[in-house]
Symmetry: C3
Subunit: 417 residues, 3 copies
C-alpha cells in the first residue's frame, strides 16, 4: 500500500466541548453520603461527588453577608458603571466622595439603570421614561415624564447595597440586614500598618469555588507553575508534606509545610526534579525567614506562609511582601480575581517597590503566574473528582465552609428579581 | 497607604446578561390576578406580572388572521427569499407579476426550499432530490429524480400563504380559512388618496409586543428622544396629561393630549426642562394644526395625533405628513419594523419630499430616532413591571387586545411543522 | 402613489434558524407505529417519524463495538491530540510506533489530559498536579506532587481505548470487552491487494445518520450533484429504477440500477435533462464495466457500484478506482468524513494516480462534491419526513440497522463520565 499525503489537519470543531460545561445552577449531587470530617490525606480518597459538602455544593453563586471588593474606587465616577456580583446586577455611581450601588434594573419596565442619565445631584434617571431614583435610598424621587405630582413617587424603590472604600477599592456588601463594619472582612494587618501596594482586577471564566480552591491548593503550585516566568530562576520543589492549621486571629486557615522534597525518584519511571543549572534554590518561603525580614509578618506569627479565609481571600506571605487575592463570585461561570501586592514600607523604599511592581511584578506575578491558575480554573470539570493526599488543603477549606453557618446566594428568578 | 496605579479597566464579560433574556415561549405568569379594567392612570399601579393580560401574555409570536407587510415587492424576484413571520419559515418567490409564499421546508427530509432551484415556470424544486412544488397551490407536481410517473406526486403539498402587494410592499396573510381583503388591514386614507411615500424595513432584536407598546407609549417619547438628532432644534415637553379614545373608523386607539407642560419643578431636586437657547418651540403636533395644513388629516378628524390599531400598526399624524410603523413579529426575539412616511401630494411637491426623505428624513427619523426605540425594546426586561400614570396608553392597548377575540400564534413543534 | 427607493436589504437576522436544530439527544418519536418491513418504494410513504426505527432513532451518537478511523497516523505524535468520537472525549498520543488512546479527563479534578506534559516515556501527566498515567494501561503510575510513596498510585486509572493503525489511519475501538480484530471492520479487498490511495478527513456540522443515509441515498446524487464541478463534463441521469440487494461478503448492502433515464417529460411542466452540448455520456458506473477494467472489482463480483455497510462505510466502485467514505460520529451535531480513494495499482501507474489525486481529485471529488452532501446533511431537518420511491435505499439501510442487534452509544452524564 502506498498512501498519498492528505490535506492539512482539520481543527476539532468543538473546542468548547473540552471546557468545563457552564453551570447555571449547582450540579445535582448524587445520593452517596460521606463523612465530611475524613481527610483524604490519609490515603483514602473522599467521595467522588460533592454530596459530603452540601453548603459548598450549593454555593455556585457564593455566600451572602460579606463585603466584596469589586473595582478600583478611582474608576467609579458620575457615569454609571454596571457590575455583576454573586449573580446580582448592580450599578455603581459616584456622588462626590461617596460611591453608591443600586440594583441595576428600573422596576417600571426592566431597563438597566446603568444606561441612564444623571439629571439631578444624588439621583439616577432611567433613560426610558425618566424614572429618577435617589442613589442613597433607592427611592423613586421623581418621574420626569409624569410631572411633579406623580402619584407613584415614593411608592417604588430599587434595592441599594452598602458601599465602602478601603485600600483604593470599592467594597459592596451583599447581604441581609445591617452590615458589619467592612473592617471585619479586611485583614487586620492592612488596617493597622502603613504600607505600599499595587494590584489588578480581572474577570475570568470559571466558577469562584475552583479559583478559591486552586489558590489554597498545595498540590498544583509546584508542578503547574514550574513553567511560570516568575519562577524561571528559582527551583520549585517536587513534593511536600503539608498540614493545615487554623489561626486564632481573623479566621485564617494556614498551610504548614512539614517536609519539602526537591526531587523524587519514581520506580520504573525515573527521577523528577525542577533543578536546572540556571535555577537557584529559592529563599525559604517559610514564615520564620519572612519574620526575620519583615516586622509585620513577625508580629503576625504565622506557622505557614499561605493562608485563606472566608469568603474567599488568599494571603501569601513572602519575606518581603504579602500577596492578597480575592476570588469574588461574578456569576456561576465567571470569577473576579482581585489581587494586591503589599509591602510594609514608606518613603523611598515604597517608591522603589512601586517601580518594580509596575515594571515586572504586575506582569509576571499578577499576570502570567495567576493566568496559569485561571487557565486551570476554566478547564476544570468537577465533580466527579478523586482527591489525593495534598488535597487536605482543599478539604480543610470545604470543612471550614460546611461548619461556618454560611448563607448561600440563590439564583433570583421571576418576581423576586 | 500608598496605592499604585493598576492596569486598564477590564470589560465586564457578560454584557449579554444586561440584555433582556431571550424567550422561546411566553413567560409563566404568577398567580396574582388583577382587574384588567383598572387604569394605572389613577395612581394605582397594575399588577406586576401579565396575568391580567392572558391573551397578551401568550402572544409572544403575535396574532394569526392578519395581513403583515414583510418586504419591498421589488426586492422579491425569481430567486427564492427566505423570511420568518410569526415564527413560521416562509419562502417568497416571484412568478411574473405575482409573488408566492410557501412554507420553507421540503416535506421529504426537511431541507429549506429557499435553497432550491427554479426548474419550471411556476414551480420551485428542492435542491436535494428535485421535489418540485407548484408555487401557487403548494402541491408536489413533479419529482425530478423519480420520473414522470412518480407515485408520490399529488399526494404531498406544502402550506401556501395568501400574498398581496400594496404600497410597494409584499403582504403575507398568516391565518386560517379564506383571508379577508388586504384592504381591511391597511389604513383607509392610504387607499383613498394619492400620496408620495418613503420607507424602510429593519429587523431588530426584541419581542414585537415591546415594540408596539413602545410605539404607542406616551411616556417615553419626551424623555428618551430629547437626545434624538431629529429633535435637535425643537423643544420636547417635560410631561403631559393624556387620554386614550377609540376611533369609530378603522379601529384606531388615539392618544389625546389634555395638558402639555414644558417644564417641571421637582421639590428638592430642581427644575427640569428641555428648553435650550438653540431650540424653538415645535409646531403643535395637535390634530387641529395638522388638519389646517393637510386636507386628508382634516378629513380624518382625529382627536389626537398618535394612534395604534391591530395587529400592531402605529400612525403619527404630523402636520405635513403621516408616519406609519408596523411591528411585525419575526420570532420570539426579533421584530420587523416596517416604517413608511406618507405625504398627500403629487407632482413637484412630491419630488421635493422624495429628495428630503432620501437625504435626511430616512436617516434621522426612520434611522436614529426609531433606533432609540429599538434600543429600549432590546434591553427591556418585563414582567415584572410597575406601571405609572402615562402607561394608560399601554394598558388601553392591552385591554383592546384582551377583548378583541384574537387568535394567538402558537409555537410549532414536531410533526405539526 | 409614488414610492421612494428604500435602504439596502436587511439580512435576515437568524440564518441559524434555517438550519437543522442541534440535538443533544434523539428526538422523541411520536406514538404512531409503522411496519418497518414496508418498503416506500411501493408508492406508499412510510411513517413521518422514526418510531418505526427505534434503534436508528436512538443512535444519535452512533453504535458501540466497532472500530472507527479517526485521524492520519502520521499526524499523531508525542504531543497529545484531543479527539471526540461517539461523544467521548479521547486523547491520542504516540509512543514510538504505537498510538495510545485514553479518556481525556484526569479523574482528580477533570482537567483534560490532552493539555498535559510528557514527563516519562510511556506516560502522560496532567498539567495541573502532575498525575501521571501509563498510556497503555491507563493506570495512575506516579503523582509527581505527592512523591514516590503516594498512596493513591495504582488505585485510580483512566479508561483506555484499543487502537490499531491500518491504511495510514488510526482506528479507535469504542466498545465493551475484548475487541474483534480491526480487519473485521475494514473491507477485505483492502487487506488482500496492493493499492495506492489518497484521502482526507473532515469534521462537518450535522448528525452522522444523515451523512450515512445521504451517502447510500440513490435519489439525490443525480440532482444535487449535477452542478458539481466533478461532473461538469459528464451527463447525470434524470431518474433511475433501483433495487437494494445484500452481499454475502462483508455484509454490504448494494444498490442495483435496473433502469437509467437520461431525460424525463413532466406533463404540463416540460422536459428535464442534464444533457448539455459540452457534456458527454459517462462511462457506465456499472459493475460490469468496472469489472472489465479492474481485476479486483471483477473478483468482488458486485451487482451494483454503490454499497454501504455497518457502522457507516460507503463504497463506490468506479471503473478505475474505488471511493470509500466513513461517516464517523463525533457528537450529536458533528460527523467526521473520512474519505479515501483507492486504485489497485503499483509502481509508475500508482505515481501517476498520486499526482492526479493531489492535483484535482482531492479538490473536486473529496472536496467540492462531498461538500454538497455535507451542506445537505447540515440543513436537513427530519423527522418529520415523507419518503418516496428512491428512498428504498434509505429504508433498506434502516432495516439493516434495526435487525443487526446493535449497541447504541448513550450519552454519558454525571458520575458515569
Amino acid at each position: 500500500m502506498t498512501e498519498i499525503a492528505d490535506q492539512p489537519a482539520q481543527p476539532e470543531p468543538a473546542p468548547a466541548a473540552r471546557r468545563r460545561p457552564r453551570r447555571a445552577a449547582a450540579p445535582a449531587p448524587a445520593a452517596r453520603p460521606a463523612d465530611p470530617a475524613a481527610a483524604p490525606g490519609e490515603g483514602e480518597p473522599a467521595g467522588q461527588d460533592w454530596s459530603s459538602w452540601p453548603t459548598y455544593n450549593a454555593a455556585t453563586l457564593g455566600f451572602r453577608n460579606y463585603w466584596y471588593p469589586v473595582e478600583w474606587a478611582r474608576r467609579v465616577g458620575r457615569k454609571p458603571m454596571p457590575i455583576t456580583l454573586l449573580g446580582e446586577q448592580i450599578v455603581l455611581v459616584r456622588e462626590g466622595d461617596k460611591v453608591r450601588a443600586l440594583h441595576d434594573r428600573c422596576p417600571h419596565r426592566g431597563v438597566p439603570l446603568s444606561l441612564g442619565r444623571r439629571e439631578f445631584d444624588g439621583t439616577i434617571s432611567c433613560p426610558y421614561h425618566g424614572w429618577t431614583f435617589d442613589t442613597e435610598s433607592g427611592k423613586l424621587c421623581a418621574v420626569i415624564t409624569d410631572g411633579p405630582e406623580s402619584p407613584i413617587c415614593g411608592k417604588v424603590s430599587v434595592r441599594t447595597y452598602p458601599i465602602e472604600e478601603r485600600l483604593g477599592l470599592v467594597w459592596v456588601y451583599v447581604g441581609d440586614g445591617a452590615p458589619p463594619p467592612v473592617e471585619r472582612d479586611i485583614p487586620s494587618e492592612l488596617l493597622e500598618n502603613p504600607f505600599v501596594m499595587g494590584g489588578r482586577t480581572d474577570i475570568r471564566d470559571g466558577n469562584w469555588r475552583f479559583a478559591a480552591e486552586n489558590g489554597f491548593d498545595e498540590g498544583h503550585a509546584k508542578y503547574l507553575h514550574n513553567t511560570a516566568l516568575w519562577r524561571l530562576f528559582k527551583v520549585m520543589p517536587a513534593w511536600n508534606k503539608t498540614r493545615v492549621v487554623e489561626s486564632e486571629k481573623d479566621g485564617w486557615l494556614i498551610r504548614v509545610q512539614d517536609e519539602v522534597h526537591w526531587e523524587a525518584d519514581f520506580p520504573g519511571l525515573g527521577t523528577w526534579t525542577n533543578k536546572r543549572w540556571w535555577k537557584r534554590m529559592p529563599l525559604p518561603d517559610a514564615p520564620g525567614k519572612a519574620a526575620d525580614i519583615n516586622p509585620v509578618i513577625k508580629e503576625m506569627d504565622l506557622p505557614g506562609f499561605v493562608s485563606i479565609r472566608l469568603p474567599g481571600l488568599l494571603r501569601v506571605a513572602y519575606p518581603h511582601f504579602i500577596h492578597y487575592e480575592w476570588y469574588v463570585p461574578v456569576d456561576a461561570d465567571h470569577v473576579r480575581y482581585v489581587q494586591i501586592m503589599v509591602r510594609f514600607e514608606q518613603g523611598l523604599k515604597a517608591s522603589v517597590f512601586k517601580a518594580k511592581y509596575v515594571s515586572f511584578i504586575r506582569w509576571l506575578f499578577h499576570g502570567q503566574f495567576t493566568g496559569q491558575d485561571a487557565w486551570m480554573v476554566d478547564v476544570m470539570d468537577a465533580p466527579p473528582e478523586k482527591l489525593y493526599r495534598p488535597d487536605l488543603s482543599v478539604t480543610a477549606w470545604r470543612r471550614l465552609i460546611e461548619r461556618s453557618g454560611l448563607k448561600v446566594q440563590r439564583e433570583k428568578t421571576g418576581l423576586e428579581r
